[in-house]
């Protein structure tokens, strides 16, 4: 159809349009949030107050630190997804890679001999290896057996979770605690906190990793080739890019990063692996939607990650003070994605189907 020109195209146009666009998202969300809170029978003022304190406040900023900690994990998973998606690889198996990474790291950190720094390093290595292997398995399933990566990676999430659940429920269970979890890591093998706070240095690790990943994408040959492979696969093949090798390497990196995040959660946050601790908070899925929200623009990913983390911890606070179920965060998160996705079609390169529908 003809492109219609309108007065909004010039001058203040772009600004007005951006404001209008974001209002188009913020207003419905506010309405939905208000409706949900009303449904729970909670007073609105208390709810909002509880939300803000839950996300950003607390004695000695305890809650803010929780938000930061959570944001770190989400951002890590988001960057893992970013690596895959930008290369046209629809790897949504982050959850399985995260779980296996965390489990491996926990087991190694508990049982590996040697001084603490070595054990910690080995734990991270184990976590990354496990995540990378699980991601590459999905890749191999596609390359060798034609199972679409989207489905294969997703389906692999479940056996991974079940396996981890069994491991901490039976062979490596902390019998004394009576719960399906490993024993606590020895104290010297915990990641240290920032001095004087309760925030572990894991957040700093994530920050460093995020920067490295972004730099990789923008400045390295491999990064460019992977991106071209995602944006224009036929072009990549005809240009002689080693498509399969690129795909497997990217998947390995993506899985390794997910495993790294899992190790971080175990060594820095929980100091053990318990059944469901990485799945319940939906770190992997939140990471995926964070990346989809910002349309694969790398520097915006930390912002989205922090936003979703604040949403979650704020909702927890809202539950504490106003008895609003904390799942409101998940609902709002999903709605944000819906509204934003509705404005940015094709946010993922090489998505399986182009909806031409008009």
């Amino acid at each position: 159809m003809k492109a219609a020109g309108s007065g909004l195209d010039k001058g203040l146009g772009p600004v007005v349009r951006t404001i209008a666009a974001w209002s188009g998202v913020a207003l419905p969300l506010a309405l939905i949030g208000w409706g949900l809170i009303a449904l729970a029978g909670a007073p609105l003022g208390e709810a909002i107050d509880g939300f803000l304190r839950g996300a950003f406040g607390g004695r000695r900023n305890a809650y803010l630190l929780t938000t930061l900690s959570r944001a770190g994990l989400i951002i890590g998973m988001a960057m893992a997804a970013w690596l895959s998606f930008r290369a046209g690889l629809f790897n949504i198996g982050g959850e399985g890679q995260l779980v296996l990474g965390g489990l491996s790291a926990a087991l190694v950190a508990i049982h590996a001999p040697g001084p603490a720094p070595v054990a910690i390093a080995l734990a991270f290595a184990a976590g990354m290896a496990a995540g990378a292997a699980w991601a590459m398995l999905a890749g191999v399933l596609e390359l060798a057996a034609g199972v679409p990566l989207l489905i294969g990676s997703l389906l692999l999430n479940y056996p991974a979770s079940f396996f981890a659940s069994w491991v901490v429920g039976h062979p490596f269970r902390d019998v004394a605690s009576g719960l399906p979890q490993t024993v606590l890591l020895p104290a010297e093998r915990w990641l240290p906190n920032f001095s004087g706070t309760r925030l572990d240095v894991g957040v700093a690790f994530i920050a460093v990793v995020t920067v490295l990943v972004i730099v990789y994408g923008a400045t390295t040959t491999h990064g460019l080739r992977a991106r071209l492979n995602g944006q224009a696969p036929a072009f990549a093949r005809a240009s002689g890019l080693a498509v399969r090798r690129l795909s497997l390497q990217t998947l390995a990196a993506s899985g390794a990063l997910a495993g790294f995040v899992g190790a971080l959660a175990v060594l820095g946050l929980h100091h053990r692996y318990s059944d469901g601790m990485l799945v319940q908070p939906l770190y992997a899925w939140t990471g995926i939607v964070a990346v989809l929200l910002v349309g694969l623009v790398p520097w915006a990913v930390p912002l989205a990650g922090f936003f979703f983390a604040a949403l979650a911890t704020g909702a927890a606070g809202m539950e504490r003070t106003a008895a609003v179920p904390r799942e409101i965060a998940l609902i709002l998160q999903a709605c944000v994605i819906l509204f934003v996705a509705g404005r940015t079609a094709r946010s993922v390169p090489g998505a399986r189907r182009d909806d031409p529908g008009s």
Partner: protein, 304 residues
């Protein structure tokens, strides 16, 4: 092997086949219409919750069915609005709706019923069964078909109707065109959007029924994340059969049986997690087998 023919086992198979089949039929409609809907898991979950809510509210399973259909249709409309009408990527929309379903059902579970984890109540009316006296006495088909949820009949009939409709009915033709060559519909003055929206709503209704089977027929309660992967298995079934109803019927039966088997063999001493993982492993194996078979069939020298 005689476990497979044991009447009690046979009677349990449809309980697992029906949800997968219904959801897969819904997914097939979307697939044929050109909508890559992988939110079946979320659709089914919402349907399951709505069925329990409706059944509890009116102490009537029928009201539960109605609620389930409405809830599913609503999900379909939401998908249509954000993906078909506004042009959002279907995969992104699906991921969002799956998360929305988890959040919404858990939220409402606590906000409306004041419980977490599971909701049980005497007021929830179960769906009841349909006896087919003619078949009841037959050796294998008897326990398989008689005394089952009425949704089994609905599911099988829907599969047959879909098969016929796609070939012979005006709407079926247009649905297929929407998926394969939307330009043909545009030239014909039929709105592609409308066709796809219709497919999504119908998918929602079918998935809602699938959820109802889970929550007010198989059992009489709602558990968080009740859909437990059935929606994903349905997605795989649709992919394997490219949305063709009759093969879909066969594949759904296969997967449903595997599901039912996994519960059965729990008693054999394997850890519960192994049997939980079995349906997913079965679907993975089925995908691999189907892909390899397809590759072999195509001419030698095909592109790698």
């Amino acid at each position: 092997m005689d476990m497979l023919l044991d009447p009690a086992f046979l009677a349990s198979v449809p309980r697992f086949v029906v949800p997968v089949l219904l959801a897969a039929l819904g997914g097939a409609l979307c697939e044929r219409a050109g909508v890559f809907n992988i939110a079946l898991e979320g659709f089914v979950l919402v349907g399951a919750f709505a069925a329990v809510a409706g059944s509890w509210l009116g102490e009537s399973a029928l009201l539960g069915i109605v609620f389930a259909c409405l809830a599913g249709a609503a999900m379909g409309l939401v998908f249509a609005e954000f993906s078909v009408r506004r042009g959002g990527d279907a995969i992104v929309t699906s991921v969002a709706l799956n998360l929305l379903a988890i959040g919404l059902t858990t939220y409402l579970l606590r906000a409306l019923f004041g419980v977490t984890g599971a909701f049980r109540d005497a007021r929830i009316d179960g769906l009841g069964t349909l006896d087919l006296p003619i078949l009841a006495g037959w050796p294998v088909l008897g326990p398989l078909l008689s005394g089952q949820s009425p949704l089994l009949l609905v599911a099988v009939l829907t599969a047959l109707l879909l098969h016929l409709g796609l070939a012979r009915h005006r709407l079926g033709l247009r649905l297929r065109a929407a998926g394969e060559a939307p330009a043909a519909l545009v030239a014909g003055g039929v709105s592609v959007r409308r066709v796809r929206t219709g497919a999504l709503v119908a998918c929602g209704v079918l998935c809602g029924l699938a959820g109802a089977q889970l929550s007010i027929s198989n059992v009489n309660l709602f558990v968080e994340n009740m859909s437990a992967g059935r929606g994903w298995i349905a997605v795989v079934a649709v992919l394997l059969t490219r949305g063709r109803p009759l093969p879909l019927l066969g594949v759904a039966i296969l997967f449903g049986t595997a599901d039912s088997l996994s519960v059965r063999i729990q008693g054999l001493g394997l850890p519960q997690q192994a049997t939980d993982a079995l349906p997913y492993l079965v679907t993975l194996v089925a995908l691999v087998v189907a892909s390899v078979w397809r590759l072999r069939r195509s001419a030698p020298g095909a592109a790698s």
